[in-house]
């Protein structure tokens, strides 16, 4: 029997390169004659540009060129709309996409105004201060609620208002549900912005080889193929003349798939014009406003429940901050709208949102991509309902869970991929039961918490549910090749940002071909190797590209079996593959190495039979009809220090179901990492803008990422409800850890501060903000604590 890697804790193939410093990241690309780029960016969030004078900068030694909007000529065009909105009836969408360099107006702090090209980065940055820009400041649109006021300043005057989109999706009859309800609760909930904060900032190297007439772009992108296709169009080149390489990318988390960032348009253009390679590496401060962000929403939500805890209906009206431009369409707010329904049976849903333009950096998905908001709103409403009806928190969730026989479940609204929101599969009760068991739910409520409270300690528990629509289409592809050496090469289009694709895809292929996993070499993110596909987003890499690897490997297996059968003179069904060989069943010695078969499949003399292809190679594509729905429960125990409002996470439990697990080691690590991101978003990270749209904390000194002393070790449980929508039965997991963290944090902190009777209806918190909320609490009283006070 061949060794099977599916489901094993296989160590990663890519690690040796990363651990020794040999892995290539974009900033490691070094080319002869390379020039360096720096951008002059707006200090104002909203201003008219009246003049840009780069004369002095151009005459500085070492400066090769300075480009302003005027210099771009007909290349100056707004970027493409990346994701057109789904076909929802009555939908209003006003596209306004980003421009390469600001011309008449700047619309957020950090918007690029001029591009300096110099012999070194130091010189390029020196020259920025020589550029004279006349700006006429305008009032800024900062707060969501103020954006649609009649007298609000306009981010895009030509649109006549700051409305970017208006979308209504409904199912059932909410008004009737409300009339029939025993309890109706309404609240306003806020979620504010954070940064994706990949440790590697963005970067680009562009090289136009004028002899080969070929453009090569090394780009920290999650979507090299669409970047290639778009650049070819913009620059009037054949797609085959553009090669985009996303080498090792130091974390993606969503914003590395914005198409196109101004820099992604400008460097290739300038490299062609100057005939030299150019490099631009974003610095950390630039990253805080030059890279897209997420998460500003305000929800007015209402839940209608029966006295036995059944959800009769939910109504949610929300505002979504899309920032200065909306190139990513409605992915984020539609994710919020859809994910709110969670694992629950919601007979009536009335959801309406308006996306608004503000003078802040553009919003595109960041790990979770709007799902956080939906989960936060629903879970908070359920917590309030449970309190109002005196039903246990876990009980109210169980009462409303969809049961296994209700799948596939059609929610009767459209998801972000334009497909109906239909959950493929799920089994939710065992997830929460396992989480209760792991966290010791009853024991905590009945024994531990009373004991802590008696001792004056504010210790609380949170437990919440979520689902995540993952693995959406349209498709990905893969090519699998057995080389004459016997090594196997897998090429796929998705870029990789640390998920472990070099290993997971290798596991899938190694099992099909009966080879050692370390003999399978995966190449991702290089359009020269594979040029069909979309990218790495929406927790879809393994689901969609993994399935394509599987299908391609199966085709190669058929070729191997056919050739081996003829070579070994055994019937095809008697050919077995193991340890890199094809051999007769039960007779390993009667066999042939795959490498030898690869040589025979590509002969130098003789004839290849009609209808056959040379080599042991096959390409396959996989496109699911729709996404697969993963689910989970997060539970946590916290202790709050009432003197400082500091929250210590004592325990964090995640039970999740992402279908079949190919590599538990990597899945657990994705969840752990996601939880860390979620903890940051819940308690440490907030982008603070003042009333003029100025970002006040654009450094790692002021914007706090959680560190090793803030993030606990997550205790995990897995359940497997395979997805019927792909051959591997897998569901995505990349974003899951980060999605329900705000909701569970809020519930746990409320529970810990039971005496204050808080309602936490906003994210992120911070010790300061929590302290403030405790002070405002009408029942605010400090628990008596021995000698204190």
């Amino acid at each position: 029997m061949a060794r099977r890697y599916f489901g094993e804790r296989v160590r990663r193939n890519e690690d040796a390169r990363l651990l020794t410093g040999r892995a290539l990241f974009v900033d490691d690309v070094h080319l002869a004659d390379m020039l360096h780029v720096a951008f002059l960016r707006s200090d104002f969030a909203h201003a008219r540009v009246t003049a840009v004078d780069a004369t002095a900068a151009r005459s500085r030694p070492g400066i090769v060129a300075v480009f302003t909007a005027e210099d771009l000529g007909s290349f100056w065009q707004p970027g493409p709309l990346l994701v057109p909105p789904p076909p929802i009836e009555g939908l209003v969408f006003n596209p306004a996409t980003q421009v390469p360099l600001a011309r008449d107006k700047v619309r957020h702090v950090g918007e690029p105004i001029a591009m300096v090209v110099a012999e070194s980065r130091y010189l390029a940055e020196d020259a920025l201060s020589d550029i004279v820009v006349d700006l006429e400041p305008l009032d800024a649109v900062v707060h969501l609620e103020a954006a649609l006021a009649a007298d609000a300043p306009l981010v895009h005057e030509e649109l006549g208002s700051n409305l970017a989109a208006h979308v209504i999706q409904r199912k059932g009859d909410y008004q009737r549900a409300r009339d029939e309800a025993d309890l109706v609760l309404a609240r306003r909930l806020h979620y504010d912005r954070g940064a994706s904060a990949a440790i590697e900032t963005r970067g680009i190297v562009a090289y136009w080889d004028r002899r080969a007439e070929e453009l090569t772009l090394w780009d920290t992108t999650q979507a090299p193929i669409p970047i290639r296709n778009g650049l070819a169009r913009m620059l009037g080149l054949l797609e085959s003349q553009v090669r985009v390489v996303a080498p090792f990318v130091g974390g993606g988390f969503g914003p590395k798939i914005m198409m196109f960032y101004p820099e992604e348009m400008l460097l290739p253009w300038a490299s062609i014009r100057l005939g030299r390679p150019l490099k631009w590496i974003e610095d950390r401060q630039e990253s805080f406003y030059g890279t897209t962000q997420e998460r500003g929403q305000v929800h007015d939500a209402e839940i209608a429940v029966s006295k036995d805890g059944r959800i009769l209906g939910v109504r949610d009206v929300f505002l979504h901050d899309t920032g200065a431009y909306d190139p990513y369409g409605l992915t984020v707010p539609i994710n919020s709208q859809c994910t709110l329904l969670g694992p629950y049976r919601v007979p009536a849903y009335d959801s309406e949102f308006r996306a608004v333009f503000t003078n802040k950096p553009t919003v595109t998905p960041v790990r979770g991509a709007g799902r956080q908001h939906g989960v936060f709103v629903m879970e908070r409403l359920l917590d309030l309902a449970a309190k109002g009806l005196a039903i246990d928190r876990t009980e109210i969730r169980k009462i409303n869970y969809l049961s296994p026989e209700e799948f596939p479940h059609d929610h009767e609204i459209l998801f972000q991929d334009s497909a109906p929101l239909v959950y493929d599969s799920g089994n939710y009760h065992p997830i929460i039961e396992k989480a209760e068991e792991l966290v010791g739910y009853r024991q905590f409520l009945d024994a531990d918490q009373p004991r802590h409270r008696a001792a004056g300690h504010c210790v609380g528990l949170g437990i919440v549910s979520y689902v995540e629509g993952t693995g959406i289409g349209p498709y990905e592809g893969a090519r699998v090749t057995v080389e004459p050496s016997g090594q196997v090469r897998v090429a796929t289009g998705v870029g990789t940002q640390g998920q472990g694709h070099f290993t997971v895809f290798a596991q899938i292929v190694a099992d099909v071909l009966g080879v050692d996993v370390e003999e399978v070499h995966v190449i991702t993110g290089d359009t020269r190797e594979f040029h069909w596909g979309t990218g790495t987003f929406a927790s879809r890499g393994v689901v969609v590209a993994g399935s394509a690897c599987y299908e391609a490997a199966k085709r190669v297996r058929s070729k191997i079996v056919e050739l081996a059968s003829a070579t070994l003179e055994v019937a095809p069904h008697d050919v077995e593959l193991s340890e890199g060989r094809a051999h007769a069943k039960g007779a390993p010695s009667r066999g042939i190495d795959l490498g030898e078969l690869a040589v025979r499949a590509n002969p130098l003399r003789g004839a290849v039979r009609p209808g056959t292809e040379p080599g042991l190679e096959a390409t396959a594509y996989f496109g699911p009809d729709r996404g697969s729905t993963a689910a989970g429960v997060h539970a946590m125990i916290v202790e709050v220090d009432p003197e400082t409002a500091m929250v210590e996470i004592k325990r964090y439990v995640v039970v999740h179901d992402c279908g079949k697990v190919i590599n538990p080691l990597l899945v657990e690590a994705q969840v752990q990492g996601g939880v860390a991101h979620g903890i940051g978003n819940a308690f440490y990270e907030q982008l603070v803008f003042d009333d003029s749209g100025q970002l006040l904390n654009a450094s790692f000194m002021d914007y706090l990422l959680p560190t090793a002393t803030d993030v606990p070790s997550v205790e995990m449980g897995h359940l497997e409800t395979p997805s019927p929508l792909n051959p591997l039965g897998v569901k995505g997991v990349g974003e899951a850890g980060a999605i329900p963290t705000g909701a569970v944090f809020a519930q746990a902190v409320e529970d810990a501060l039971h005496d204050y009777d808080l309602e936490i209806l906003e994210m992120p918190l911070s010790p300061n903000r929590l302290f403030q909320l405790m002070g405002e609490s009408t029942r605010g009283k400090r628990p008596t604590n021995g000698g204190a006070g």
Binding site: R11, G21, L666, H677, T707, A708
Partner: protein, 159 residues
């Protein structure tokens, strides 16, 4: 622009003479002059720790130091950790075993931070490890497996 200054440094055991501008950061010197691109730059203001290297045996942030300040000193970068035949250092091997890295961008900084820590603290507690790496940021792993890697390495090397 001020004149270039000649410096002599020992990097990963090799003595080198170079002339550098006084304002050249040590991180840029290592990456772009010596092409030792394993040292990564994440924030350029001394917070993230990705650019950590050893200068005279101590972990320092190479983005907060000028190359000229390293004159006459001995520098160790991540490239100097593994054997000349490519064998991973036990600390690197422990990171692979514990899956202590995802995108790998911050990893060289964690390795260079842990190296002197583990040699001074051969049997550290978990909380000591967490404190030791609390000046290094990682966005992917949630730190747990980095802590595990440090424990494995401590068992093998220290003890």
């Amino acid at each position: 622009m001020s004149e270039a200054i000649s410096i002599s440094v020992t990097v990963n055991g090799q003595q080198l003479e170079r002339s550098v501008e006084p304002r050249t950061l040590l991180s840029d010197f290592l990456r772009y002059e010596l092409h030792l691109t394993g040292t990564h730059v994440g924030c350029e203001h001394g917070v993230c720790g990705a650019c950590t290297v050893l200068v005279s045996g101590e972990a320092v942030r190479s983005c907060l130091m000028f190359a000229v300040q390293a004159a006459g000193k001995e520098i160790l970068t991540v490239e100097g950790l593994s054997g000349s035949d490519g064998t991973l250092h036990p600390l690197q091997a422990a990171f692979r075993e514990a899956h202590g890295l995802q995108c790998g961008f911050c990893t060289p900084g964690f390795l260079m931070t842990l190296l002197p820590f583990l040699s001074e603290n051969p049997a550290p507690s978990e909380s000591a490890i967490r404190k030791a790496i609390s000046g290094n940021l990682c966005r992917c792993t949630g730190y747990q497996n980095i802590v595990e890697a440090a424990k494995i390495a401590a068992e093998r090397v220290g003890g």
